[in-house]
Point group: C2
Chain length 250, copies 2
């Protein structure tokens, strides 16, 4: 198999209700598109959720890191390429390139996934899946951004709380991965987004939360442009951690 | 021009993060798709926001009513047809049909739009637009659901409040029309959505709200399946009103 045939390529347009007040695609919508592309690519190759569910398995997103020079503008076309970088026994690394309307690579993303057994919730051995055929899709396309980092949050001061509602819950009954991104980014004022843009964004998904859970938000301001955020549920268990790195707009 | 050539037809798929915990497309996402289709249809015919903005005008959504027998399921394809039913001096009626993967019409929607001058915020005369050419697109395709009704809310007891955040604000600096729908529907518990589905949904957009505005929600329970809801900003001015009609799931 050639390297190019291992790469999935998907076109999008930045829709009016998917851009923020600056007219740029939101990070939540970009995250949604990335996860959809992961799904399309896996499905086309026989590793999608639908075929896995027949075998009682599902993919679980563990880490996501996105780094961008710019975001697509409202009504602009853009393309997302995705490919598998590595397959280990319990994790696989899937990368992405974000390409603007003129064919310029404006950003990259990295993601880490595990496969779990739906009954036991235990991780499955990816190298045994379909006789190890997933390895045939490993591709050495470059992804010149840092891997998802280890995020630690020291703050014990809760800066906001949010009770999980109907619109937050996905088909698995879990708080939807994209909604965490939106709620996290709503911690920052609109003035922040007037002056700065998000250069790098990371999510570490640690545990699931559910309808009615009370989420609490803790923030370390590492420097004026770097924030480490932790979401806990019901005052105790960590649900996810995030790193948001801004830069001043040019 | 034939009647069929006046109808725009657009295909969609119910994406994983666009369905609720029951695996059905959410009302907010359907609303988003309807408004996008309105935009596509108008743009293709020279009445889109981009060409209007050159003339310093924009479309403003005034009313939306959606009535459905069922919602598309996760991963299912569906189609939205849209056409112009009437053009008056200050308003135009645009209708929609929602068609499932097998070609069956599963629902309809009606919308009412005005065109305003961006400087004066005053309504413009639609019959003067492009020499009245919009009338050529009026189409007599049937839309067998009731027109948007007049919604009155008597309750003075605020049942919830919400402060408008970064993610709620659109490119015009206004609270995004779709977000109102999501916040309204989050007033109902997940148990409501386990037992019932939304049969008919209406929105009347009355005034804009902005970043930092405190929205308050007022609800009249007309009967166990019918709710009239009003959103006010900063304790006074009405922003929008909604009617939500449920039916027990079969």
């Amino acid at each position: 198999m050639s390297e190019t045939s291992k790469i999935g390529s998907y076109k999008f347009i930045a829709e009016p209700f998917h851009v923020d007040f600056t007219g740029k695609l939101t990070m939540g919508v970009l995250g949604n598109h990335l996860l959809n592309c992961a799904g399309f690519h896996a499905t086309d190759r026989g590793f999608g959720i639908a075929s896995l569910n027949n075998n009682n398995y599902t993919w679980v997103l563990s880490r996501l890191a996105i780094e961008l020079e710019e975001m697509p503008n409202q009504y602009e076309e853009f393309t997302i390429n995705t490919w598998v970088e590595n397959v280990y026994r319990l994790f696989t690394d899937r990368n992405f390139a974000i390409i603007d309307k003129d064919g310029k690579k404006i950003g990259y993303a990295r993601s880490v996934w595990a496969m779990i057994d739906l009954d036991t919730r235990k991780p499955a051995d990816l190298l045994l899946l379909h006789g190890g055929a997933i390895i045939d899709y490993v591709c050495d396309e470059p992804c010149p951004i840092d891997k998802p980092s280890r995020i630690k949050v020291a703050s014990t001061e809760c800066v906001a709380t949010y009770k999980a509602k109907y619109s937050d819950i996905d088909v698995n009954g879990h708080f939807n991965s994209i909604r965490y991104i939106e709620h996290l980014l709503d911690l920052f004022s609109i003035d922040t987004y007037k002056e700065k843009r998000i250069k790098r964004f990371e999510m570490a998904y640690v545990a699931e939360s559910y309808y009615g859970d009370e989420l609490s938000f803790f923030v370390d301001e590492v420097n004026p442009n770097e924030f480490h955020i932790e979401i806990k549920k019901n005052g105790e268990e960590t649900v996810c951690r995030s790193k948001v790195i801004f830069e001043l707009k040019k």
